[in-house]
C-alpha cells in the first residue's frame, strides 16, 4: 500500500484530483442511468402482444447462437425409474385445447412435406411404430419441475418411417394445434434428439384431453412451453416458425 506525506499545496492538488474523480463518477453514473432508461423504453418486439425490448431480443438471439452451437445431441436428459414418476401430472396451460371445437374421432395429424404434399396420419398408425418410454424431470419455464412418465414414438423414428429424411434437413419444425390457437417452432437438432417423442401416453395410459389427446410433443431438452399438446399440423422450414410464447416475450430457443 503506497502512502506518503505531502505539503499543504500538494495536498490541495490531491483534493482537486479527488474532485475530478467524483465528477467522472457522477458522469458515468448518469450515462449508465440514461442507458438504462433508453433500454427499458425501446419498442417491444411483440406488437400488441407486448413482448420484450428489441435489444434484449437481439441478445437472446445471440444466446441462442452460442448455446445451440454447444448443443450436443449425444447428451441425454437424466432418466428416472418409473416408481419415481408422479401419479398426478400437473396440467399447465390450456391454449389450443378447446374441446368443444375438437372432433377426437376424426383427428389425423397433417404433415406438410417440403415439396408441398400432405400426409395424413392417424393415431393407430403412429402406435404401430416402435414405442419409446421416458421418465424424466419435466421443467417448466416458471421454475417448477416434476418427474413424469411418457410414452410414444421417437420423432427420429417417425421421420425415418415416413421417409421424411429430406424434411429433417430443414432447420426447424413447426407444430400447430388443430384449432391453430397454440403453435411452437423447434430447431431440428433438438427435434431429432433421441429422447424427443411424439407422445400418446402418460403413466402408461392414453393422454387425457387436458394433456393433449391424442398426440403431443415431449421434448426433454426444452422447457415445457415447447411440449405442444395436441398436434394438428407439422411442417418444416429454414426460417423460424411462429412460436406462441416467443411472440409474448419469451426466449425462442428455451433449450437445455
Amino acid at each position: 500500500m503506497k502512502e506518503f506525506i505531502v505539503d499543504d499545496k500538494t495536498g490541495k492538488k490531491y483534493s482537486r484530483r479527488s474532485f475530478v474523480s467524483f465528477g467522472v463518477f457522477f458522469l458515468a453514473g448518469g450515462a449508465a442511468y440514461a442507458g438504462w432508461k433508453w433500454l427499458v423504453h425501446q419498442p417491444l418486439d411483440g406488437g400488441i402482444r407486448g413482448g420484450i425490448q428489441q435489444p434484449l431480443r437481439d441478445v437472446l438471439t445471440e444466446d441462442e447462437k452460442i448455446f445451440s452451437g454447444v448443443f450436443d445431441p449425444n447428451k441425454l436428459v437424466k432418466e428416472y425409474p418409473r416408481s419415481e414418476a408422479l401419479r398426478q401430472v400437473r396440467v399447465n396451460g390450456s391454449e389450443g385445447l378447446d374441446e368443444s371445437l375438437f372432433d377426437a374421432a376424426a383427428w389425423q395429424m397433417d404433415v406438410v412435406r417440403t415439396n408441398g404434399q400432405h400426409l395424413s396420419i392417424g393415431l393407430d398408425e403412429i402406435k404401430q411404430l416402435p414405442k419409446t418410454e421416458i421418465v424424466f424431470n419435466f421443467k417448466c419455464i416458471e421454475g417448477w419441475s416434476q418427474v413424469t412418465w411418457w410414452g410414444g414414438v421417437r420423432f427420429a423414428d417417425f421421420a425415418k418411417h415416413y421417409g421424411l429424411t429430406p424434411e429433417t434437413r430443414s432447420k426447424y419444425v413447426g407444430l400447430v394445434t388443430p384449432d391453430e390457437e397454440y403453435y411452437v417452432g423447434v430447431d431440428m437438432p433438438s427435434m431429432m434428439h433421441p429422447q424427443t417423442l411424439l407422445c400418446y401416453e402418460v403413466n402408461g395410459k392414453p393422454l387425457p384431453m387436458n394433456q393433449g389427446y391424442p398426440l403431443r410433443l415431449i421434448i426433454p431438452v426444452k422447457y415445457g412451453v415447447k411440449h405442444l399438446k395436441r398436434i394438428g399440423t407439422m411442417s418444416f422450414a429454414d426460417e423460424k416458425p411462429a412460436d406462441y410464447w416467443a411472440e409474448r416475450g419469451y426466449d425462442y430457443y428455451t433449450g437445455h
Binding site: 502512502e3 505531502v6 441478445v59 416475450g249
Partner: protein, 226 residues
C-alpha cells in the same frame, strides 16, 4: 497542514466495483421477476413459517408480478456483464498482486472474531491490519466464491442437459435453483452490512473507492527530534 496520501484501490478495481453494483442490482431484480412465477421458498421452524419469500405486500411494492418473460430477457442479457466483469476482477486481482491484501491468511478467522467484537463495541481494540482487516478479507473472499457459485448454480438451471455435471454437482435441478436463490439472499445481506460499514467508516474510506486514495490531515510534528 501537511497531508498523508494513502493509495488504496487501483483504478481498474474501482471501475469493476462500481460496474458490478448496478449489474448485480439488475440481476437480482430480474431474478425476482423470474422467481415470482414459482415462489415456493420459505423458512420454517417446527412447521411455523417464519419468513415467506415473498409476502404479497412486497411484490405489490416492487411491481414484481406477471413479468416472467421480461425477467428472463434481462437476466440472460445482463448475465454476460456480471460474468465478464467478475472474471476480469478475479484475473486482475490475481495478476496485480492485490490478492495478497484480500485472501485470508493464517489467523484471519481468529482476528475476524476480534474485529466483529470490536465493531459491536464489546472489545476495545481491533487487531492490527493492512489494507483490509481480517473480517474484510473473509467477506471479500466469500463474495467472490459466491459469485462463482451463482455462475455454477445458474448454468445448472439454465442448461441442465449441456452442463449436466454442474447440475449434478449442485445436487440436482431443484436444489440448484434453491442454491441460486440462497446465494442471492447472501448478496443482499452482504450489501446491507457493506453499506452500513462504509457509512460507519466515514468519508475518506468512501472517497478511496472513487478517487483511489485517502487524504488524511497530518498534524504538525512537534516531537520528531530524538
Amino acid at each position: 497542514m501537511p497531508k498523508k496520501i494513502v493509495y488504496k484501490h487501483l483504478l481498474a478495481t474501482r471501475w469493476m466495483h462500481w460496474i458490478n453494483f448496478p449489474v448485480l442490482a439488475i440481476m437480482i431484480w430480474s431474478g425476482l421477476l423470474i422467481y415470482w412465477a414459482n415462489d415456493v421458498y420459505q423458512v420454517k421452524i417446527f412447521g411455523v413459517t417464519l419468513v415467506r419469500f415473498f409476502p404479497e405486500w412486497f411484490y405489490k411494492l416492487t411491481h414484481i408480478p406477471y413479468r416472467l418473460s421480461e425477467g428472463m430477457a434481462f437476466h440472460f442479457a445482463f448475465m454476460w456483464l456480471f460474468f465478464v466483469n467478475g472474471l476480469l476482477y478475479v484475473l486482475y486481482t490475481a495478476i496485480s498482486g492485490e490478492w495478497r491484501y484480500l485472501l485470508p491468511k493464517k489467523g484471519t478467522l481468529r482476528e475476524s472474531w476480534q474485529v466483529l467484537l470490536h465493531d459491536l463495541g464489546i472489545r476495545k481494540t481491533a487487531p492490527p491490519q493492512s489494507k483490509y482487516n481480517a473480517a474484510q478479507r473473509l467477506a471479500y473472499t466469500s463474495i467472490i466464491i459466491m459469485g462463482f457459485g451463482s455462475i455454477i448454480t445458474g448454468l445448472a438451471i439454465y442448461k441442465p442437459v449441456q452442463f449436466q455435471w454442474m447440475t449434478t454437482l449442485c445436487g440436482g435441478y431443484g436444489p440448484a435453483r434453491a442454491e441460486h436463490f440462497i446465494l442471492t439472499v447472501g448478496y443482499v445481506l452482504f450489501f446491507l452490512v457493506h453499506v452500513f460499514q462504509v457509512i460507519r467508516t466515514g468519508w475518506n474510506n468512501f472517497r478511496a473507492m472513487i478517487a483511489g486514495f485517502e487524504i488524511i490531515d497530518q498534524p504538525a510534528k512537534e516531537d520528531t527530534h530524538p
